[in-house]
């Protein structure tokens, strides 16, 4: 156990945790925006898979990482258009259409990969960028301020999303159509338009999450996310629909995963117990929520399509 509490290992664990948390955080923040407007999207995983594939393919073909990030975002946006039309205008049941999007993304990303790439080929990964001055802080600098730009972006988006939701008119609209769409409608807020835009934001962030995942790994293979998008949805509930809480959830989940891996590498967790140790991230997330559980109410109109009476 002593070996774990050396600075270099702790720093590496923190760095692992942040890398693992980045895609969760981006996707969860997006899902938070959507849910605050009253729209549940269970299709995050499918969106992430599609954007991850297209990002990967872009790097493979052009070598341009920033174009790849942009493509990931754009694929998220397109999927957002699709999901928005289905849920807001066609008023399809959200749970089921989300699962439809998931299955579609799972299959199509796999098919595209088989058709356009075939065998996994490595591509360039997102480079780490040192933040001047901060990255020179002993140990802490290496853990926190020598990361890639999408990671910084994810964490910057936490306060940005929080401010968007609480301090802007648009944020107020989002929350009001999520809580009481009839009242919002009677005050002249377009429920449909507000939700549609919230969905676009949410899916774009899921798209960024897919890009972040694949560009951190530098490789794609079928079902790359392994259900990551569903965990991201779960973390929204962990964070009680607040960006800061969502960040807490993503970091906790990433940190437990990273710690388990480092303990395995150090032999602190014996090989024979490794499956039991693998339960830790999920179990601890539930336990943490039991401890900090407050009576939070979901956005009242969550999953309910709006029809003007």
């Amino acid at each position: 156990m002593g070996e774990f509490f050396t600075l270099s290992v702790l720093v590496a664990t923190a760095a692992s945790a942040i890398r693992l948390a980045t895609p969760y955080l981006l996707a969860s923040l997006g899902e938070t925006v959507g849910q605050r407007s009253g729209v549940l999207n269970l299709g995050v995983d499918g969106v992430m898979l599609l954007s991850a594939f297209f990002s990967y393919w872009t790097v493979l073909e052009t070598g341009n990482l920033w174009l790849a990030v942009f493509v990931g975002l754009a694929v998220g946006l397109v999927m957002g258009l699709l999901y928005g039309v289905i849920t807001v205008f066609l008023k399809a049941t959200q749970g089921i259409s989300g699962i439809g999007i998931f299955i579609f993304g799972l299959g199509l990303s796999d098919l595209l990969f088989r058709r356009l790439v075939g065998t996994p080929k490595p591509v360039r990964r997102l480079p780490n960028v040192d933040i001047p001055i901060l990255s020179d802080i002993p140990h802490l600098g290496a853990a926190l301020f020598q990361r890639n730009l999408l990671t910084y972006l994810a964490f910057v988006l936490v306060p940005v999303t929080a401010l968007l939701l609480t301090r802007t008119t648009f944020g107020l609209n989002i929350r009001s159509v999520g809580e009481n769409p009839q009242a919002a409608d009677s005050l002249g807020v377009s429920v449909e338009r507000t939700r549609f835009v919230a969905i676009l934001i949410g899916n774009s962030m899921a798209g960024l999450a897919g890009a972040a995942l694949v560009l951190q790994l530098g490789i794609f293979q079928p079902n790359l996310t392994q259900g990551l998008g569903f965990i991201a949805v779960a973390l929204v509930y962990f964070g009680a629909w607040r960006p800061i809480g969502v960040m807490g959830g993503a970091l906790l989940y990433g940190l437990v995963n990273a710690t388990v891996l480092h303990w395995k590498a150090l032999g602190i967790i014996p090989v024979s117990d490794s499956d039991l140790a693998n339960m830790a991230p999920a179990v601890l997330t539930i336990l943490a929520l039991i401890i900090v559980a407050r009576r939070v109410h979901a956005p009242s109109a969550l999953t309910k399509p709006f029809t003007r009476h």
Binding site: L42, G46, L82, I86, L90, K91, A92, T93, G95, I96, S97, I99, G100, I101, F102, I103, F104, G105, L106, G107, L108, D110, L111, R114, R115, P222, G227, F230, I231, V233, A234, L235, Y237, F238, S272, D275, L276, N278, M279, P281, A282, V283, T285, I286, L289, I290, A293, R294, R295, V296, A298
Partner: protein, 368 residues
């Protein structure tokens, strides 16, 4: 009558549109769309044994779907089908390993029952957590799915692994072949149609009867309709939320037992993932339940259709040699299209009613 027919036709039209997309994809992959459709239909309904295979494929979807119905009707969103199936399978496997010599007439019901107990426990946990600790059930069920996969891997490569695997050094993570006395009897010789199919149908009927014909069901639905009103009426909301998740989980658990002792050849084996064992029935069951309008009885045909889609897809891949991913993408499109068409169907029905051709008001939505 005609209205009902049209109501049924619209989702069918959506499915046809989805197939049109599939056809486009097939052409792009260099295969004939007609041959594709033919292969799917042939795979799902081409012979007695294939129809039986479709029914077998639909069985866990019916059970999970019926369970989902109970939970959703109580306003509890159960996404833990995958974990509950695994829990039921593990529990029934352990029972079959412990009492291999019991006569079939006892052991078969016993493994089904223990499946229900295993799944019920895994449903009760998120139910109780929601009711008594305010832990959102979507979060806890998703997390418990992850936990159960690891627990399954742990058991199958450890405590309940086939001793032969250790001896031979192959260490395949599977149990020994389980007692034949626990095998679900085949109903029609030469097909895979086993007793699990009527069990699932009976379970769906039972779910219907519980929900709409018993005081328990009344309380569950009252909680689902409005917890505040239910509480005011003296209903114990917390206990009913836990009960709904327990019932829901136990149906998934029975599906797990049926997979082991009916569908997957009498032994439990893991490839390390949940879907490798469940075939994603925990998710597909949700789709089946929602297609069925969250009505346990409608879940049966809806699950059968989905089962046909899945077995047809296997045939499609084999006959046309196209990637399995095509069938997966196609299933996703079909789900999206059919679900998007529901309002269109409603609009059509209303238009027909408005036109004065029908004077009977819509009562089909009574269960909603």
């Amino acid at each position: 009558m005609l209205k009902g027919v049209i109501g049924a036709l619209v989702p069918l039209l959506a499915a046809v549109l989805a197939f049109a997309f599939g056809a486009t994809m097939l052409v792009a992959l260099g295969a004939s769309p007609l041959a594709g459709l033919d292969a799917m239909l042939d795979g799902a309904f081409g012979s007695g044994s294939r129809i039986a295979a479709t029914a077998v494929k639909a069985t866990p979807l019916i059970l999970v779907g019926a369970g989902i119905t109970i939970a959703f009707r109580t306003s509890v969103i159960n996404i833990g089908g995958e974990g509950q199936i695994i829990a039921g399978a593990l529990m029934s496997t352990v029972v079959a390993l412990s009492f291999p010599d019991l006569p079939a007439v006892i052991l078969v019901p016993l493994v089904l029952l223990s499946g229900a107990v295993g799944g019920g426990i895994l449903g009760a946990i998120p139910g109780a957590l929601k009711a008594y600790a305010s832990v959102n059930e979507i979060l806890s069920t998703i997390m418990l799915n992850l936990v159960m996969v690891q627990f399954m891997n742990f058991l199958l490569r450890g405590p309940i692994m086939d001793p032969f695997e250790l001896e031979a050094g192959t260490r395949i993570p599977q149990t020994q072949r389980l007692s034949d006395n626990a095998a679900l009897p085949t109903m029609i010789e030469g097909t895979r149609l086993h007793v699990g199919v009527p069990v699932a149908i009976a379970a769906a009927v039972a779910a219907y009867l519980i929900l709409w014909r018993t005081p328990t069901g009344f309380r569950l639905r009252a909680v689902g309709h409005s917890p505040e009103a239910a509480r005011a009426a003296g209903i114990n909301v917390k206990r009913n939320i836990t009960l709904a998740m327990t019932l829901s989980g136990s149906l998934g658990g029975i599906a797990g037992a049926i997979l082991v002792f009916g569908s997957e050849g009498q032994r439990m084996v893991t490839d390390g993932s949940a879907a490798g064992f469940t075939g994603s029935a925990g998710f597909n069951g949700i789709v089946a339940a929602l297609f069925g309008g969250l009505h346990p009885l409608w879940t049966i045909p809806s699950a059968m259709l989905f089962g046909a889609l899945l077995t047809g897809a296997t045939q499609l891949q084999r006959v046309l040699q196209v990637p399995a991913a095509l069938a997966v993408a196609l299933n996703g499109i079909i789900v999206i299209f059919v679900i998007s068409s529901t309002p269109v169907r409603g609009w059509l029905q209303r238009s027909l009613a408005d036109s004065g051709l029908f004077n009977r008001s819509s009562d089909s939505a009574g269960a909603d």
